[in-house]
Symmetry: C2
Subunit: 253 residues, 2 copies
């Protein structure tokens, strides 16, 4: 038996998220079906991140075990011939048995993209949220520092989360504008349910002067979801990168 | 009666091109239906460019005449509430009766986008052609000058064209690479059927060293479609800009 980590990119528009469900097509199911066609054996994958309905990924991690002879450097080409056009394998590497798709994660980076313009560009709509009102980028940038470090992010967690702890560490948070596109990029050791979309919604409220910048530390401290901004739409969110510790022998972090 | 020029953007993926057809949904039909809902009257539009099935636009021009009171600055907002998410009105201006959506065109700019990488990125696939082999960008750039000016572009015209003349003038042609995206941008006074997609296919053949750069002038002179490169896929093509002469009284150019 070999164990392989795949890097999977997808346009999430047509899927009910990553995680397998009974009556709805998900990315995980499509990937498992394609692996079964390629390998001729039932194959179960485990993902590094449970992306929601409509959320995209450039670098989801997916691990499976099986008997196969395809070398890792050829694996993406072989798998891509069975995948639909909206899912693509971007890389593959053999890993130890101890490797765990979630516990071996060191950090993840998400991007939340906003189209900030008078009229909606249909070519951006699929991969961004549309905000027609003017946003004060410098104000948005000025509050990024408050989010850095270890915090209880309960204020930025949707109900329905099953996480054992609501403490997470954010390593980087940036807001950048290029022409009519604003990218919120956040790197952390993990994220609560809807956390990035709520952080982006809160930053938009700062940019619209609905939330004063100096309120952000109190919103974080309050651990009260109603104090933060709205959860922005899923189509703006893309899982950009996952860094793993390949040396770690599967201990929980 | 007033006459209005609309700037229309669309993701062409779901449509059988711009031009109205009997049994297939087109952008023109969708736009006319939305205008009818907004204005309460049957409305026929004429486009500046007949984009093909799967081709996109950021700035298609569409002209209609009718009785309406909505001011031009509010017109896009009003119309967008009736348009589907993959079509958007980006601007509107009142024009003289003499304005003609085709004859008043001074120049048009198209972009052909190529994703040049080992593996297909699903988020780029909808708006680009995928070329996994390495392309020599400098070689591609070196032949752009040969296309400039007035030429008989028969070598770059698909059969089935009904154009009266195959002479066109190209004002600018550039090839630029940013990370894994190559953009071929071409500005001209008009384009023959599939002309931009064949020019892009020919540039790719130059980049792959299938066509030597010094052959390009002979390929143009030959007026022989079989000498030029392949017609690249429609999804890579986007109509980017149209410049009009609003003073011209509708004479043919």
């Amino acid at each position: 038996m070999k164990r392989m980590l795949l890097k999977i990119a997808y346009d999430g528009t047509a899927y009910f998220g990553w995680q397998r469900q009974n009556n709805f097509m998900t990315v995980q199911q499509k990937l498992e079906e394609s692996l079964e066609k390629l390998l001729g054996q039932k194959t179960a994958v485990r993902g590094s991140s449970r992306t929601d309905t409509g959320v995209h990924a450039l670098a989801q991690g997916a691990v499976f075990s099986g008997d196969f002879t395809i070398p890792e450097e050829n694996f993406p080409y072989a798998l891509n011939s069975f995948l639909p056009r909206d899912i693509s394998c971007m890389g593959a590497r053999l890993v130890d048995d101890s490797f765990h798709p979630q516990y071996s994660v060191v950090n993840k980076t998400y991007r939340y993209r906003i189209q900030n313009d008078r009229f909606r560009d249909p070519m951006l709509s699929r991969y961004s949220a549309f905000v027609p009102r003017e946003l004060d980028i410098e104000k948005m940038q000025s509050v990024c520092g408050f989010f850095l470090g270890r915090h209880d992010f309960s204020s930025f967690c949707a109900s329905g989360s099953t996480a054992k702890t609501t403490v997470r560490e954010i390593y980087a948070l940036t807001v950048e504008k290029n022409q009519n596109i604003i990218d919120v990029v956040v790197k952390g050791n993990g994220f609560l349910y809807n956390m990035v979309r709520i952080i982006a919604g809160t930053l938009v409220d700062v940019g619209l002067s609905k939330i004063p910048p100096q309120d952000i530390p109190y919103i974080i401290e309050s651990r009260d979801r109603t104090k933060a901004g709205k959860t922005l739409a899923p189509e703006g969110l893309t899982l950009m990168e996952i860094v793993y510790d390949f040396e770690k022998n599967g201990e929980k972090q």
